[in-house]
């Protein structure tokens, strides 16, 4: 992975070049020279980027992606037990945190919200009900 030291070095070189070119272009700084973008939370960024990227996939591919979103895959394991209870809980949690999401966005946002929460362990989904 790229370390901060390398990034500082690279950023230093680019920042130097940027300053020089900015100076060449405009004799004085504008207040927006340090402008940046706040992209939002993980869920917002993901939701936005998924939508943007999905639009470039052909309809056949898009349906494959949708199928994959079924996660545990109703019908995949054939037992109908995997994580059903958890899915409902997750859905409730997501709904509570994304009140502004529209119906079509809700699916994406749910998947997005769940990333950090579920990806942490990825365990406990299949067969939890059985254990209890």
């Amino acid at each position: 992975m790229k370390t901060d030291k390398k990034i500082l070095k690279s950023a230093t070189m680019i920042a130097g070049a940027l300053l020089t070119t900015t100076l060449a272009a405009t004799p004085s700084f504008g207040a927006d020279i340090l402008a940046y973008n706040h992209l939002g939370t993980g869920a917002q960024v993901r939701s936005h980027l998924i939508d943007m990227n999905r639009n470039q996939v052909n309809p056949m591919e898009a349906s494959v992606v949708k199928f994959a979103e079924l996660k545990c895959g109703e019908g995949k394991c054939g037992e109908g037990k995997c994580g059903e209870g958890d899915k409902k809980k997750d859905a409730k949690k997501s709904e509570a945190t994304t009140s502004e999401a529209t119906t079509s966005e809700a699916t994406t946002t749910k998947a997005a919200e769940s990333k950090s929460a579920e990806a942490k362990c990825g365990e406990g989904k299949c067969g939890e009900g059985e254990k209890k």
Partner: protein, 251 residues
């Protein structure tokens, strides 16, 4: 717990079957049932990776994504016993094999890295928060940053653009990810090289903003610092509001 050599061999063969799907002779297996193990394990792996990399899935499309997962599952031999770290191994596996280049998707490394980093920032152990005060002089006091952040450098701006556009914008792109103190939510900033330069110098070289301002003014040949003052005040004041900067070191 010590296992018999035979048991270890059987476990390894079962693992190999689950990864590759190539049936091997295994003692004690009920005929026609073993494929359920492979199917259930595949579900966990698919689900974990799909949840971790939803943008990559959307960008590649389902078919290509499935190939990447199958390739990793069959040849990558996941080593971590922690399921949440599986996406890191997936990223490392495909980066190591230059999969992106091979399949004509040079942005793949960046996209996997970007998506993994969110999990890493969200899940990383707490970093000690330094003492700070909220009142101070922005230009002359040393600033205290939220330690729970990482700066990432990307060759393609996959964090701001769909990949079909990002691919034409190869260069040096920066994003900063940080964890909010109370909620634990990961926040994303898209920053310029100049932004990064200022942030990293303030932290790593323990200088004041005034020193950096003078340096920028000297390089850029600015005599009146008015615009620069305003720009710096706006930028860093904003980062304070967003809790990337907590406050000032107590003198």
């Amino acid at each position: 717990m010590h296992l018999r050599k035979e048991t270890i061999t059987i476990q390894e063969r079962l693992g190999e079957y689950c990864r590759t799907g190539v049936e091997l002779e295994l003692p004690g297996v009920t005929p026609g049932r073993i494929h359920h193990y492979r199917r259930l394990i595949s579900n966990v792996v698919n689900d974990t990776l799909h949840t971790a990399f939803p943008i990559t899935v959307a960008a590649l499309g389902g078919n290509q994504w499935e190939l990447l997962v199958q390739d990793f599952f069959a040849d990558g031999i996941p080593k971590t016993p922690q399921v949440w770290k599986l996406p890191l191994e997936f990223y490392q596996y495909h980066t190591g094999r230059e999969t992106g280049k091979r399949i004509g998707k040079p942005f793949l490394d960046d996209l996997l890295y970007f998506e993994w980093m969110e999990i890493e920032i969200h899940t990383m152990p707490d970093r000690p928060f330094p003492d700070f005060v909220t009142e101070g002089d922005l230009f002359n006091d040393r600033l205290v940053f939220n330690p729970e952040h990482e700066i990432i450098q990307l060759s393609f701006p996959v964090h701001t653009h769909p990949v079909r556009k990002a691919i034409d914008l190869e260069g040096e792109h920066y994003a900063l990810l940080y964890r909010m103190p109370e909620s634990g939510h990961v926040q994303f900033l898209d920053l310029s090289a100049l932004n990064i330069y200022i942030i990293t110098r303030l932290q790593e070289e323990k200088v004041t903003l005034n020193e950096i301002k003078n340096e920028i003014a000297r390089v850029a040949g600015i005599e009146s610092g008015r615009y620069l003052d305003e720009a710096l005040q706006k930028f860093l004041g904003d980062l304070m509001e967003r809790k990337l900067i907590f406050g000032f070191i107590q003198n």
